[in-house]
Amino acid sequence: MRQEVAGLSKAAGAGRLRRPRWRRLVARVLNYALLLAIFAFAVFPFLWTLAIAITDKTVVGGTSIYAFPQSLFPKALTLGNFLEVVEKLNLGKYFLNSVVITGLTVLGTLLVSALAAYPLARMSFPGRNLIFGAVVSTLVLPTEIAFIVNVLTLRDLGLLGTYLGVVLPTVATAFGIFLMRQAYLAIPSTLMEAARIDGATEAQILWRVMVPLSLPSLTALGIFTLVGTWNAYFWPSVALLTNDDLLPMSVAILKLKGQFNYDSFNVAAGAMIMMIPVLVVFLLAQRFFMRGTEGAVKG
């Protein structure tokens, strides 16, 4: 279903059939003007970072990267900064670690959250409110010392310095469970009742009704988890204290900010290397959380 510029003008949305053509055009132009304005607001630091990352530093001439707006328009372009970062930090290995850690974390989070949220949203059993309250309360409780306690637990479990050690403590989150619970709550209960009458088990209802209908929320959760895990450097650095072969790229990229030879072009290239994979995933994944628009009536 199209949402024509909701909130812009009452008349603009009052039924497409009754609306003259020129007004539709004006609405379309206003739409894009607004979209472009927000676009500029959102991406300007990204564009600056990108501009520096592709600036050929050997011909930078008399301007500094901090000189605005000159530094937004590099005199000469290159991909050299990217190659330099990849080579200098040996990023290939770290990139693979990042992919494994992030992949496992996203899968784990989706699985655990989708399962746990279902009874919290749609089943009545003793302890439900208590458990939900406890889960949500961890969003606000202090976590300053959690990392020390958690490495000790990992050691006792023999998981210190393994991929699993990095991943397991982060997959069950209040955020994920809460998000999925809210998504399930929005699904009309008639659908569940119908499935129950057809004799479906709870697991079948979850898998065949709830999960497909909450695909947009699952995708959102997946993307948030992906971004969070991909960029996290503190927890992986502690959990892999004893095994730096498994460190993710987010930790390796910190090395660009040394006390000597702080190379802003390389730092910018490093930031791009971190951001671009995530944005590509977002670009590809958004059709999952836009799924609902696909079947909408046309005109």
């Binding site: 199209r2 010392i145 209960s189 947009p216 929320s217 971004v227 951001m275 959380f289």
Partner: protein
């Protein structure tokens, strides 16, 4: 008897679904969080950790110390002020979500670009925002074009105690609207298309459809987003560190509650005082609980509205 057995089966199934989450959270979230809260009632510093001394119970001593510290009071007050970003951020994020929920050419790129601030490193974004807020920066320059300020009296927005916190709130807004946009977009998909169509045929305008259909059906998402945003605002830290070098200046006008905790623990690890940090963290959590309750209360379900 039969009813009882069914209830038991349901409970068993429920706990089976919950089991992985409960085991993992129990080990890696509840246990450290409870331990951290317990430390708030003890005297426990990095020296004790090094010497393998156990925490010593001191009751409410840390709480008295923290509550009596003017810096903590300032911090809580500033964090409460920070909450003002929440309604603005949520309204904007929902509006943007509705805007990009259209099927128009290039929409995929717009949606992705609005998500860019979420993945931009705050340290790099800070350089640009810094340039905007400077005395001779972009913001003052634009305001002059619009004849909104007296150029001679211009100042750096981050060095004036009346504007610094607002300036940083704008950055939080910038970082947040794309994030909540995604959640709202996901929520919008759960609204059955038939409802909207029926409303259109009834001659309802966009504004009416928004308030009568979108908002009521999005209640679960609204609660989720407003709660997350409230908690994030009361626990704001990263922006403050980046824009003030961790000082909370000028004149402590951006010193937030969590900055206090940070300075007693993470930010100063080799001199950490886990007791005081834990107590301060618990006090902030109390505020967080109260605000969370308010969120649940304001978005409570009126039965029968759905399905």
């Amino acid at each position: 008897m039969h009813v009882k057995r069914r209830a038991l089966t349901t409970a068993l199934i429920a706990y089976a679904f919950l089991a992985p989450a409960l085991v993992l959270m129990g080990l890696f979230t509840f246990y450290p969080v409870i331990y951290g809260a317990f430390l708030g009632f003890t005297d426990y510093t990095i020296a004790d950790l090094a010497a393998k001394e156990p925490p010593r119970w001191v009751g409410f001593a840390n709480f008295a110390q923290v509550l009596g510290d003017p810096l903590f009071q300032t911090g809580v007050w500033n964090s409460l002020k920070y909450l003002l970003v929440v309604p603005v951020l949520q309204v904007a994020a929902l509006a943007v979500a509705v805007l990009v929920n259209q099927k128009l050419p290039l929409m995929g790129l717009f949606r992705t670009s609005y998500y860019v601030p979420v993945v931009t490193s705050i340290a790099l974004a800070a350089v640009m925002w810094d340039w905007i807020f400077q005395k001779d920066g972009f913001l003052n320059w634009s305001l002059r074009l619009l004849h909104l300020i007296n150029w001679e009296g211009r100042f750096s927005w981050l060095l004036n105690e009346h504007t610094a916190l607002w300036a940083i709130m704008l950055v939080t807004f910038w970082r947040g609207f794309g994030y909540y946009m995604v959640l709202y977009l996901a929520g919008l998909q759960s609204i059955p298309a038939e409802l909207e169509e029926a409303a259109v045929l009834d001659g309802a305008g966009a504004w009416q459809r928004f308030w009568r259909i979108t908002v009521p059906l999005m209640k679960p998402t609204l609660l989720l987003c407003s709660l997350l945003s409230t908690i994030a605002a009361i626990r704001v830290l990263e922006e403050i560190i980046v824009f003030t070098g961790g000082s909370g200046g000028p004149l402590n006008s951006t010193y937030t509650a969590l900055l206090y905790v940070y300075n007693k623990s993470w930010g100063n690890m080799l001199d950490a005082n886990f007791g005081v940090a834990g107590a301060a963290g618990l006090l902030i959590a109390l505020v967080g609980f109260a605000l969370s309750y308010l969120n649940f209360y304001l978005t409570r379900e009126e039965r029968g509205g759905r399905a």
